[in-house]
């Protein structure tokens, strides 16, 4: 018997130089230097294919959806619903009805908080999250706790920026109503073992919401394999338009959930005596949605799917390895977030230079990074720092750009040391 050919299993390679041609914004100079865009964790740039899909919608067939019987409305509705199908296949969701379009990942999490958790929450109940969550997976739960007398329980993180499954398990009690966990940390790059966390929570009958905002642009996501009850992400980090987010929810759960916003498009019938709500997903999509944005997201999903998420993942892993190697050689630099499993995020601090000063000096070299607390202040507190400088990689970044990043950080060192 022969072993499977490793070449057949290897991820396809990403042709970065060709990919870069798809992104018109990258062909520019900043302060006289070629733009090196390393702020993908905040938002990713858009390929021509996405820009064209949005433009085509407005130029050729734009209309409101789900209402008109005229030609344009039917075309727009078909394109909008086609995007829903694309997202469902992208996440390997069993049904398109499980894909709800929102304004963003934040709104998707809030939807779960208000429609799923809130009606089930009593004083003394618990919501479990991790210490590395983004504010969007902290604040909605705090608001609910404030209102109901429930308690927010937090799984700690280690010095490397990891959580342990034992710590998750020991904090799930009979009062736990939901677990909210990010798949990839925006501040630390940590990849959390969400599949195992779901298994632990489900063994205790607790539903899990996975915040996939930083994961979907970086790795193939299969919501059935993870077993998540809810999975949220935003379009703009996935090379799609801003103003669009996605909530995947298990259909059996969505069917039990009340709407969280009332309006048009989410009803079956309305009279002043009684309103019958539509089935999911329409029940959760009150009002006219971001039609062109959703269609653009569909194009973004097509784009990354054609490149192959496995190729993107391998490419970013290579960039992260290379950047970690070059940056950690620079004296006075400390990398924040050293988990064994990490995705394309490199957070760091320097002995003599504040992250804001690092950001300004790098910008002078055309290198765009993020400086700040990354909407994860508890993470900053955990590491005893006010902020970090963060380079986050995207599918169009190159090894040469990583070298430019390191050279520019050395310049900071020379200026401040």
């Amino acid at each position: 018997m022969s072993a499977p050919d490793p070449l057949l299993r290897a991820a396809p390679r990403l042709d970065v130089e060709r990919v870069r041609e798809d992104f018109p914004i990258l062909r520019q100079q900043v302060h006289g230097k070629p733009l090196v865009y390393l702020d993908n964790g905040a938002s990713a740039q858009k390929p021509q294919q996405v820009i064209e899909a949005v433009t085509r919608c407005y130029r050729e067939y734009y209309s409101n959806i789900h209402r008109g019987i005229h030609m344009l409305s039917q075309t727009a509705t078909a394109a909008f619903e086609e995007a829903r199908g694309k997202v469902a296949r992208f996440l390997n969701a069993p049904s398109e009805k499980e894909i709800i379009f929102t304004r963003g990942c934040t709104e998707a999490i809030n939807l779960v908080a208000y429609s799923y958790v809130r009606p089930r929450l009593r004083a003394g109940d618990e919501i479990l999250i991790s210490a590395m969550e983004h504010h969007s997976n902290i604040v909605p739960w705090q608001i609910l706790c404030e209102e109901t007398g429930a308690k927010l329980v937090v799984v700690p993180i280690s010095d490397a920026g990891e959580i342990s499954l034992e710590d998750v398990e020991s904090r799930i009690t009979e009062r736990t109503r939901i677990v909210g966990i990010m798949q990839v940390s925006n501040a630390l790059g940590t990849i959390n073992p969400v599949r195992e966390i779901v298994r632990i929570a489900h063994a205790r009958g607790v539903a899990v919401l996975v915040d996939g905002a930083q994961a979907v642009p970086r790795m193939a996501v299969d919501v059935q394999d993870i077993g998540a009850d809810f999975y949220a992400f935003s379009s703009h980090k996935l090379y799609g338009p801003t103003g669009v987010g996605v909530l995947y929810g298990r259909l059996d759960l969505l069917k039990t959930m009340p709407p969280w916003q009332g309006g048009g498009d989410m009803i079956r019938s309305v009279s002043f005596e009684r309103t019958e709500f539509a089935e999911p997903p329409a029940r959760f999509e009150a009002g006219t949605p971001n039609i062109a944005g959703v269609i653009g997201l569909g194009a973004a999903v097509d784009y990354v799917t054609a490149l192959d998420l496995r190729a993107i993942e391998a490419h970013e892993a290579d960039l992260l390895r290379y950047a970690t190697e070059l940056v950690s050689e620079i004296p006075g630099v400390r990398i924040i977030g050293t988990a064994a499993e990490k995705a394309g995020v490199l957070s760091f601090v320097m002995e003599d230079a504040h992250p804001h000063d690092i950001g300004t000096i790098l910008d002078g070299d055309g290198v765009a990074i993020r400086s700040g607390h990354h909407c994860a202040q508890p993470v900053m507190q955990r590491f005893g720092i006010p902020a970090t400088a963060r380079a986050s990689f995207g599918l169009y970044n190159t090894r040469v750009e990583v070298e430019q990043l390191a050279a520019s950080i050395r310049k900071v060192r020379d200026l401040f040391a």
């Binding site: 302060h31 504010h135 003599d352 504040h354 804001h356 300004t360 000096i361 006010p386 200026l415």
Partner: protein
């Protein structure tokens, strides 16, 4: 334009590395904290004001080079000045930063900070201690001022 060396001049780097008056003043009649929620910068100004005159002034905190140098220079130029002079200087500095007045008029040692004009994203850093000064002089109880609107806090 946008050569960081123009922003991080020797005097700015020096005041960042070795901030002047980096201490709580005793006695202290006025103090206020300036906070920049976006980057977590925090600077607290302490003043001893007697007969409308700044007898002593110092600051503490943790902030970027621009905010730290700005605070250090501020404390250096305002000691032994009247409160009215301090307010006038703060106004002149802000107006010149905004490009509403002739550059360098009467600013003395503060002049190198005007290079921040070319970095709009850093204006809030250079202004942080000045906002704290304003808050401290306006009230005799502790104040916290923010250089950001809430929406910027992330």
């Amino acid at each position: 334009m946008n050569d960081p060396a123009a922003l991080y001049q020797r005097v700015v780097l020096d005041h960042n590395r070795a901030p002047r008056n980096f201490r709580v003043v005793q006695p202290c009649t006025h103090h206020a904290e300036g906070l920049n929620p976006v980057c977590g910068d925090r600077i607290t100004l302490y003043l001893d004001v007697r007969n409308a005159r700044i007898e002593d002034i110092g600051f503490q905190g943790d902030a970027c080079a621009i905010a730290t140098a700005s605070a250090s220079l501020l404390t250096d130029v305002l000691r032994q000045r009247s409160a009215a002079e301090a307010r006038a200087l703060a106004r002149a500095f802000e107006q010149q930063l905004a490009g509403h007045a002739n550059e360098g008029d009467g600013l003395g040692p503060l002049q190198p900070l005007l290079r921040v004009r070319e970095y709009p994203g850093r204006l809030k850093c250079v202004l942080l201690p000045w906002r704290a000064l304003e808050a401290a002089l306006n009230g005799d109880v502790a104040h916290t001022v923010s250089t950001e609107t809430d929406a910027d806090a992330g």
